[in-house]
Amino acid sequence: MAHTTHATSMAMATHKPRNAQCTRQPRSAIKHAATAMPQSMPKSTATSEWLTSALGSAPPPTSDAQTAARAALASLAFPTSRDEEWRFTDVSQLEDAPLTVPLTPSTTSTDDVLASATFEGAHRVVLVDGRFDANLSTPLDEMMSSLPSGSYVGTLASAPESLADLRDAYDSLASAPPVTEPLTRGVPEPGAVQPPPPKPTDVFRLLNTAFATPEDTFCVYLPAGTKSEATIHIVHVSTAFAGASAVSASFARVLLVLGEGAKLDVAEELVCCDENADAAVLAVPVLEAALAPRAKLHHAVYQRFGRTSSSGGGYESSGGNTYCLKSTIVSQAEESVYDETDVSTGAHVGRNTVTVSQRGPRTATGLRSFTLASAPSQTLDVHTSAILSYPEGTTSQLHKCIVGNASAKGVFDGNVQVLREAQRTDAQQLTRTLLLEPRATIHAKPNLQIVADDVSCTHGCTISDLDDTSMFYLQSRGISREAAREQLVLSFGLEVVEKMRPSDQSDGDAWKDLVSRVTADVRTAVS
């Protein structure tokens, strides 16, 4: 399906062809009901006591962004199903207990969960409840000495004053209005490009901005023309430090700044101890990346809250009362390449919001996700937004979801905006979902907004049980029905999982640890 929308007198032609809301029926064929989506939902203007009280424990603001975030939060309501962005993802239980942030390091042992987070040959950066833990990480001087000259790893607070690029990235982010785009590097020339419409305010990202101080912001900076041989493996560990009385909240913040032509591979792994705590554990990690012209960032994310990796046996866990609401914000200058693969299996409610802004011509973006919701009442949500503002950009997206429990659900919202100047762009998006149980549910909303007239944009959305032809093919080769089914379900996910490994590392062992662990976890979960 190729859609070309010609520019008209309308400000923006919106193409929302499939607003699929689909629940697998117990016996009959799947209904693929297309329901009209109201263009704007009534928005509550009431402020939230929970948010106001949460802000009471935020540190004093040290930047304009923190001040702005606090101001925005003070006037915002807690998200409910009446907000378009949160229509299918229920976070209301978070309001049952007040939010608490760690004032002292958690006493929970992270040994087991870190022992399972192996990544041979990578530099390990461990953030416990959002705070960089030097004792659990590869020593900073060891990392620094292996990185090219002029690089920096460490907290923003400790970064040398001379690192203007890093400060600029943080400041431009900091001064950006919280409701629109975060990074305003490479601002389009006046009149050249229509600015994107403001997006609804994301309460959780704002909370992160309000809480994450420069001491909490972990940075990786590579100067122009350099490349890191080693992958940076960032392990986010969340603990239930607040016990039963409060929501244990953490706000990790990672800032990646790549100079012109620089190249970096990053893997983020999100894990949680104490998933069976009575009160909720809430992780709100934010990763921001600024890519200078021709820079290349490969980014893999593995969220396995409440899951035991590879050591087996942990998969019947529901992920407990855990919430992992992650945001990834990327700004790409001309001819830069950003490649992201997100695999999520854990958390009671898991969400990854990826926002990519192409800020120069011939920019390439690849976004993939695989979510596996197999625990009772689990919700896994992927929100992507790609804004193409310059000519000859490409975006390639593949989003897959398996819902393997009757009360679990998947949510996908994929927005692509092709602005007026973004001629000859190529934007491909494919969403595929397997509903393996009766009443398992997916809400899929691919949506393309195209103003430019010379573009190639496609999207596809399929929702199904396993394909009979594939089943028969495997059976005809002597593989039993059960084994064939298991293999096909696994293969469905592995198509994305194997893309966690950078394409230029397909022969190396560097990523084998992570990819084989994820594969083993997915195999356990689907068998």
Partner: protein, 275 residues
Amino acid sequence: MVSCSFVITGASTSGDVILEVSDLHARLVTEQGNGREILKGVNLTVKRGEVHAIMGKNGCGKSTLSKVLVGHPDYEVTSGSVTFKGEPLLDLEPEERSHAGLFLSFQSPVEVPGVSNTDFLRMAYNAKLQASGGEELDPLEFYGFLMPKLEQLKMDPSFLQRNVNEGFSGGEKKRNEILQLAVLSPDLGILDEIDSGLDVDALRDVAAAINGYIAAAEKDESTNTPAMLMITHYRRLLEYIQPSVVHIMLDGKIVDSGSSDMAQILEEKGYDNWM
């Protein structure tokens, strides 16, 4: 020329009967198929060491016959019988038919993303070993078993690391089917339009792989001499792989059988000759 009785006139008729199809009727049971009868009394006897070709127009039922034999769920046998190696075939599940030594090369092989060819082949081979009570091979042992097969078919080992049929060209998919055939070394290999969608070069490569497989299987004393059943529209394939018997299928029945000369008659006079 019209003959309804079935007589084998091929040269190599000395082997044991491996497949016996008697008065087989089958219908399509999918929603679109509407229960339409497609096989209307097929009779066919195949012996070890023979290469049979079934030719016929689109919709005559020749592909249906191949699918019914391997147990495709879209079809229901309404009457008739099939024995394979002397045992009734039709009650077996598709995987049991594979274990018994039956193999179908698919007209449109299925892509299995995320699963490498070598893992897939090993899984299939181990399922066969397991069914016959044998010890499964670990990846290293299997590699040792597989490499000679690749060489025999003149296939590039890089084939093994790629995902099953994902991004394969038409010719590569068909050669991959022949690789599976060689790994499972069935007693009867059914090739459903192995020539479809191939250009001349690809067809030559695929045919060479099939001939290579047949020659190797005949030499190999540890396995039984296999038989092959080729389903095709075109005579071209038969120029590369000499059949011992050619059958003409029309409207759900085999209406004539003879030597490879029949393909020549078909080429000259068309199917009208039998209508």
